[in-house]
């Protein structure tokens, strides 16, 4: 039962990515530019899967912190690509805010790794 549930989640994610790559037409761009942006969605999906694998399987706590930092910088670029593909300009605001909170969260994680208190 549990294993079946996990298989269903995996196939759903694969189906969504395949649908985005092959069947969504971004009509505000030229043909090859639309194709390139769809391929870029696939590559970003693979990058975030790598980061999440390192978060789940990392041997130490520092590995997980590094993977969270890298995932935060990746999402900044992903928001920019969403803004280019859909021609909505407010995605860049989301990416600026995400960069700020990712920086602060990484500094807090580094302080926690050093084993000190936060107010030192």
């Amino acid at each position: 039962m549990h294993r079946l549930f996990r298989w269903i989640i995996g196939f759903l994610i694969l189906a969504i990515v395949t649908w985005v790559i092959f069947f969504v037409h971004l009509d505000s761009l030229l043909e090859w530019q639309s194709l390139l942006l769809k391929r870029s969605f696939l590559i970003f999906f693979m990058c975030s899967v790598f980061c999440l694998y390192r978060v789940l399987k990392g041997p130490t706590a520092a590995d997980r912190a590094v993977a969270i930092d890298i995932l935060g910088i990746l999402i900044v670029g992903f928001c920019v690509i969403l803004g280019v593909a859909t021609r909505r300009d407010w995605y860049i605001d989301i990416s600026i805010a995400w960069a700020l909170q990712s920086f602060i969260a990484t500094l807090a994680l580094a302080k926690y790794l050093e084993g000190r208190n936060f107010d030192e």
């Binding site: 530019q33 390139l36 942006l37 870029s40 590559i43 970003f44 693979m46 990058c47 790598f50 980061c51 694998y53 390192r54 130490t60 706590a61 520092a62 590995d63 912190a65 590094v66 993977a67 930092d69 890298i70 910088i73 990746l74 900044v76 670029g77 920019v80 690509i81 803004g83 280019v84 300009d89 860049i92 605001d93 990416s95 600026i96 960069a99 700020l100 990712s102 920086f103 990484t106 500094l107 994680l109 580094a110 302080k111 926690y112 790794l113 050093e114 084993g115």
Partner: protein, 110 residues
């Protein structure tokens, strides 16, 4: 024309991001993973933002993209350095085949 050059810049940035995450997946040590992935992903994200600036030009969105480039270039090395220092102080071992550890030697001298 500007749009074409911008999308080419965006794709170069995505390729840099991919190789950075491949380094995060495959390298053997915390410090190796940290240096590979942080450099590659920072440069790739800055290239994506510069592509957005080339597409939009000097509008409000383009200026926000330039500001975000400056912010990412200033903060990503700081956070990577803090993470490496925290990992070394929390006692994470180096890889077996690594040759030198200057930070531990400096701490012994003090």
């Amino acid at each position: 024309m500007n749009e074409t050059i911008g999308i080419i810049f965006i794709f170069i940035g995505i390729v840099f991001d991919f190789f950075g995450c491949l380094g995060l997946l495959r390298l053997p040590d915390v410090y190796n993973r940290l240096q590979a992935s942080t450099k590659c992903v920072t440069l790739g994200t800055c290239s994506i933002l510069f592509g957005l600036f080339l597409i939009r030009g000097f509008t409000s969105t383009g200026i926000k993209a330039l500001m975000c480039i400056v912010f990412v270039l200033l903060t990503a090395p700081v956070s990577a350095h803090a993470l490496g220092r925290g990992a070394h102080r929390s006692g994470v071992k180096l890889w077996d085949n690594s040759t030198c550890d200057h930070y531990a030697e400096d701490k012994e001298i003090r």
